[in-house]
């Protein structure tokens, strides 16, 4: 597996374009030789997805699939793939962004109608697999948005803002992690850690309580399951700026998994790298915290329990901490939200809980 270490967003863009151009060249050469254009790419079927303990994420195995325009059943999706590559290239070259929905509609302008959004999304995933870049690198973004706050100065590379700088502490609501931020360069920061938070309420409380200053940290709102752009952004903060990452979620199986996806990624993205942050820490709310801090709690529902059984067998959850917390959930059959700390006063979580947890993990 080719390992890339890209320090800056601009260089990454260049590599994306090179990759797409190479793809075009390969097909062009094949056709010039009188061969029906074809490609080989790793299979994304479930039996070819493995957990790699070294990388601490899911990866694709050795099985590959050949897609050939010689095959009547392949030629349509093949053409769609080539079109998507062409379209991604246009977007990247012209530094325009687009959404999955946009891609679906844009195809129609080229007489390349997709059957539905799912078909179009699937072809984009094909392109990710072939080009080994995430769709965000092709400037195709999902609709979800998350935010960041703290002392980090970035420099934009999007058209019209080239060279402009922004300190991410300049807006008290935080700054949206959108296409412009994702493609920006990191200039400087005084922070020595990143704290990712699942919920907006707590994110705002942390800003109000000056957590960024008190704990020298960058605050990131994942707004539920972290979007891929945000996961990549966290990855960059960790890799490029060597900042340790701490994750705070609700104390239930779903919150636990939000943390895990930031750490080890998802099976759906097994074909992609640089979306994970294996060294990031889940700091809470743990099942044992519910007990230790006597937090107000709700009983686990049937669905919660079922999910816990699934996670228990998941290779990503092999670590001691995870197994211990799953067992604790099973033992007490209770869950608690981050807001539960408010029973001890609004600042308790910042003054008491947070420092303990940062030390602990």
């Amino acid at each position: 597996m080719k390992k890339k270490r890209i320090s800056s967003a601009t260089e990454r863009k260049k590599e994306v374009i090179t990759n797409l151009t190479n793809f075009g060249n390969t097909l062009y050469d094949q056709m010039e030789k009188g061969v029906f254009p074809w490609i080989k790419m790793p299979s994304r079927s479930t039996e070819n997805i493995y957990y790699n303990t070294e990388l601490r994420q899911y990866v694709l195995g050795d099985k590959s699939v050949k897609r050939s325009s010689r095959n009547i059943r392949h030629i349509r999706p093949f053409t769609q793939l080539v079109w998507t590559a062409f379209f991604a290239n246009e977007l990247t070259q012209q530094r325009k962004t687009s959404t999955l929905r946009d891609v679906y509609y844009s195809a129609q302008a080229y007489d390349m109608k997709f059957k539905d959004q799912a078909e179009s999304n699937n072809i984009i995933t094909d392109l990710e697999t072939v080009a080994k870049f995430a769709r965000e690198d092709f400037n195709v973004f999902p609709e979800e948005r998350s935010a960041i706050f703290g002392d980090l100065t970035i420099e934009y590379s999007v058209p019209g803002y080239e060279g402009k700088r922004l300190n991410l502490a300049s807006h008290p609501d935080g700054v949206m992690i959108g296409p412009a931020l994702t493609s920006s360069e990191f200039v400087k920061t005084s922070a020595d850690k990143v704290i990712a938070i699942e919920k907006g309420g707590l994110f705002t409380r942390f800003i109000e309580e000056q957590v960024h200053n008190k704990y020298n940290s960058l605050l990131i709102l994942t707004a539920g399951q972290a979007p891929r752009a945000t996961r990549h952004f966290i990855h960059r903060l960790n890799k490029e700026l060597q900042l340790p990452v701490f994750i705070l979620t609700d104390g239930d199986p779903w919150g636990m998994h939000i943390a895990m996806v930031i750490i080890s990624g998802s099976a759906n993205a097994a074909h992609l790298r640089e979306l994970t942050t294996p060294d990031a820490k889940w700091s809470g709310v743990w099942a044992s915290d519910i007990v230790d801090y006597k937090l107000p709690s709700d009983p686990l529902t049937e669905i919660d329990v079922k999910r816990l059984y699934e996670l228990q067998k998941d290779p990503r959850y092999e670590g001691d901490l995870w197994q211990r917390e799953i067992k604790t959930f099973f033992k007490h059959r209770k869950k608690a939200e981050q807001e539960a700390f408010s029973r001890y006063g609004l600042t308790y979580i910042v003054d008491e809980y947070l420092p303990t947890k940062l030390e602990e993990s």
Binding site: T21, F23, G24, N25, G34, S69, R76, V82, W83, A85
Partner: protein, 525 residues
Amino acid sequence: MTETFEEISAADFFYRNRDIAGFTNPARAIFSALRELVENALDASDLAGVPPDVYVRLSYEDAEKFESKSEEENDKTEEETETFETGVYRLRIEDNGSGVPARHIPSAFGQVLFGSKYKLRQTRGTFGLGGTMAFLYGQITTHKPAYIVSSTGKSKVYTYKIMVDIQRNRPIILDRKILLNKEGWRGTIVDFSLEGDYIKAMPRILEYLKQTALVTPYANITFIDPKGRLYRFNRATKQMPSPPKETKPHPYGVDVETIQRLVRITPYRNMIDFMRNHFHRVGEVTARKFLETTRISETRNPKKLKPQEIVRLVHMMKRFNGFLSPDTSCLSPLGEELLKTGILKELKPEFIAVRQRPPSTYSGHPFIVEAAIAYGGEVPKKNDFALYRFANRIPLLYDEGSDVSWKIIKSMNWRRYKVTPDMPIAVLVHLCSTKIPYKTVGKEFIADRPEVKREIINGIREAARELQRFLTKQEHVERERKRFSVFSKYLPKIAQFSTDLSGRTERLDISKLLDKVKKFEEETD
């Protein structure tokens, strides 16, 4: 009260029962008259061995009267104007056939049940009834004589003006002229008046002529209708089917009356010779074997047979297994080639399968079934099969639903042959026999004889299998065409997007790739 008993003539019988001969109402009558005379004309040409040229003209008897009447009635409702079409028409039919010998002309046209067709060979008409029946109908509806012109091609042309003495079934000659035949013309012209309703009969008449043209592809048929419209059906070939030979009766098909008649006229003095010479395909060995089963001595004089012996003879003839099947020289099927020509000419189909079945017999009557299936082209598309039925080369137009062929088509599992009802498909069945098993006198539909039915089924099935092969191949070609169109749609796009993506400017030539797809198509074809 006493009942009066009287004898009526054959002409009188048909006059009183004209329904059974197809002269039910003015529309039906004009159709039947035209049809009977066209069939006579075609038979005459077949007999002469020349490709027929038949000219038919139907006109209003009093054209002026019709015209002025129609102008007057312009304001009237459609229903009312329709009825005025029931009027007097004049029908003229000319052929280039054998002509009628002068001495037979009055009887042939002025006497019911007189004719040359009472022999065992295949002809269109059977009874010698149709032509005279038409005149008879004309006479009783208009009280006008018929004109006949005929020549056998020798030095003279004979013209007759005749009427029928209905009560005595005898022709009345009103006028007779003999002309010199300077141009060596041969043929017959008949010209007479009758009451009819052309507007109502028109669809049937045109369909009849079209189907006649289909089954007689070697004929030129011209029709001028009362409005002066010309319909012309041109021959597509001059090749004619070989004419039927006259034949002796087959033992399976005879009855007591036939034997009695033969006994009366036979010159032979013993039963062996009697059997050998009066019956179809009976030789000395067969005759001897057969007579053993009858307990009638070989040397017996047929004229001395007792009535109960004749009955026994007939009875044993039906049970004896040793007779050879009748041969088919007395039949004149169209042949696959001619039938194909006719169908191609009139329906211009995309596909055609024609099958002639081997000869067979029912009750001692030889018959041959010819079946065909035509697909596409000008075959009418009407959500059901178009069935064309022919018997001894005449189209059968009425009572389709009662015909054995219709029942066969309806009972077949067409899906097996990849056929769906929405396809434009015509099924043709032509039955040739010395005796067509009509169910009624009106020559409209064929009865359900198991032997005949089996042959029709086999004929249609064989043609259907060929159609299936065609449809399968067409399906394949269609699939390949679609396949190719998919490649032709997407390959240029792949080429275009790849070129743009690679940043190169030289256009890719993908014609070679497309050729490969095409080549593949030809290989699998």
